[in-house]
């Protein structure tokens, strides 16, 4: 349950120095593209707040998003759930199970009604009244509607809850939808990615604690601070793109020299995310740095946008059969037009060479 003590008090009791906390807040501020002066402001604001209750509901998902946040380095998962928020319900990492867990959820929702943050990962199946994904005998869609009623805001973690993700991929057998397709009357922040960057999740929480509201969002509901630029814009391989230097295969000289992976299908130019700047595993690396192109996983319908290894420029223009058929139609039309022109010429010639009609001679 939510603690009554402030975050600052808890940190002090646990021996977290003010310097360490300031460093953490300054790091978060810089990641959110806030000025450095916001670090102390964030620290002051967060320290004075009580930990908000957070309820995390997993729906049709793979637990990759939870796996991602367990690898959060700044802050660590422990710092996050013990010091910054009161994570009252999270099936994967909570000790309670069965009726005990469901009781915790009900109590958390009742006690913090209207104030808790609802985090959702996973899409929501609608077919067969949502029977394809149930927890404790309750469908995800029913659970979401119930939990959303008392939520101050909803944070969709991962592409599945944000846009439907892989469960929604064609042919979408469970009729999966994102949270925003069901809940219309609550502020929703989408933190897409498959999985999303853990620092982005904690950054959004820190923003909420500092300012008491949700960060500025882009048209797809993503925080602009983290999704304001494309991977391509901030990629360290971008200079090679501009120079026209591209890896042709994954193990050629260009790939070994760190040249651009555009030709190998990288979706960085059309993908908004912070991978190239925040990176993964405490800023160690990100997929492109590891030699593989971006899959575009933080974009809607990324699974249905063609092969990951087909360059973006290769639009779906058709195939030899359709072009051949079009060529056949074109030739036939041309021949028909020429034939019609010839017939018209013949008619004109015939009319021109015909003797003039006899006229009556007057006597």
């Amino acid at each position: 349950m939510s603690a009554t003590r402030t975050i600052g008090q808890r940190l002090a009791e646990e021996g977290v120095s003010r310097r360490a906390f300031l460093k953490f807040c300054t790091t978060l501020a810089s990641m959110m593209a806030l000025p450095p002066s916001m670090g102390p402001v964030m620290a002051q604001a967060i320290a004075a707040k009580r930990r908000p209750s957070v309820i995390w509901l997993p729906f049709q998902e793979c637990t990759g998003c939870t796996e991602s946040i367990t690898r959060s380095g700044t802050p660590t998962l422990e710092t996050l759930i013990f010091d910054l928020v009161s994570l009252d319900y999270q099936e994967t990492i909570m000790a309670a199970a069965g009726h005990q867990a469901e009781g915790v959820l009900a109590a958390a929702m009742k006690e913090n009604f209207g104030k808790y943050l609802l985090i959702v990962d996973g899409s929501v199946p609608l077919i067969e009244d949502g029977a394809y994904s149930c927890i404790g005998g309750q469908s995800n869609v029913a659970m979401l509607k119930e939990a959303a009623r008392g939520a101050a805001a909803i944070i969709c973690v991962g592409t599945c809850s944000s846009y439907g993700g892989i469960p929604k991929a064609d042919p979408n057998p469970t009729q999966a939808v994102p949270v925003s397709a069901i809940i219309k009357d609550k502020p929703i922040v989408n933190i897409p990615g498959c999985p999303p960057i853990p620092v982005v999740i904690t950054g959004v929480l820190a923003h909420y604690l500092t300012f008491g509201n949700l960060p500025e969002l882009d048209p797809l509901g993503r925080p602009k601070a983290f999704y304001g630029e494309t991977i391509h814009d901030r990629c360290y391989r971008r200079p090679f793109y501009d120079q026209g230097r591209f890896a042709k295969t994954f193990d050629d000289e260009g790939a070994r020299s760190g040249w651009c992976l555009y030709e190998l299908g990288c979706k960085g130019p059309t993908t908004y995310n912070a991978c190239a700047t925040v990176k993964w595993n405490s800023g160690t690396s990100f997929p492109i740095q590891s030699g593989h192109g971006c899959l575009g996983c933080s974009e809607p319908n990324f699974w249905d946008k063609g092969s990951f290894y087909r360059p973006l420029a290769t639009a779906n223009w058709g195939n030899a059969q359709t072009v051949g058929a079009a060529a056949g139609v074109g030739v036939a039309l041309g021949a028909a037009a020429a034939y019609a022109a010839r017939k018209r010429q013949d008619r004109f010639v015939k009319e021109a060479s015909a003797p003039p009609p006899a006229t009556k001679q007057e006597h």
């Binding site: 494309t230 391509h232 814009d233 793109y241 501009d242 120079q243 026209g244 591209f246 042709k248 555009y262 030709e263 130019p269 059309t270 908004y272 809607p300 319908n301 946008k305 360059p311 973006l312 420029a313 290769t314 639009a315 779906n316 223009w317 058709g318 195939n319 030899a320 359709t322 072009v323 079009a326 060529a327 139609v329 074109g330 030739v331 039309l333 041309g334 021949a335 037009a337 020429a338 034939y339 022109a341 010839r342 010429q345």
Partner: protein, 228 residues
Amino acid sequence: MDLLAFARGAAMQWATTIFVVGVLWRLVGILLLRTKPDLSKPRIAGKWKGLRLIALRSWPRKEFLGGAAFTEVMGYVFHIGFLVALFFYLPHILFFTDVFRGLFGVTFKGIFGFAWPTLPGGLIYFASAVSVAALIAVLIHRLVNPVKRLISNFDDYFSWFVTFAPIVTGMLAYSHIGAPYQTLLALHLLSVQLLMIWFPFGKLMHAFTIFAARGSTGMLFERKGATL
């Protein structure tokens, strides 16, 4: 379906289909037209010499140079810039390579033995900017010159627009100005598709007919004894 998915998918397929149908319709229609029988005796033997007109018409005769030089120079500047951007920018090359492989089952390198070279993005951007400047110049010239204005019709202005739009949207997409990249890329693709759809039915068709037209005119002139 978002705008980019539409532009990369259904819109591209329809534009390609209309382009292929339209171009072949026009070309076959022209090629199968009945040629007028010329019953006169040729003035000069060896009619193939008339093909020299293809090259000779690449620059105006000195008698007309004063009035035509501006249009000619701007025309060359535009075309060179446009062709550089079209054929030496990697995303374009990848598209053409993909089409080539899809149609013929072989790669460019498989046939010619060397890869299709690319140019740096900055150079492509510069070529595009030069092309845009030339297009604006010729439009102003067309609007200011009373004779050109008089003989211009919808086809002239619309063909100008569908040529201008892909270059400008391409430059915007490259530099990410004015809208998210995905939107700009979608607009670029849609503007290209507009060009492809209009291409066979307007004056842009000259790309396929210009040299054949010059050659046939040259052969006709040669037969009649005109000085080329």
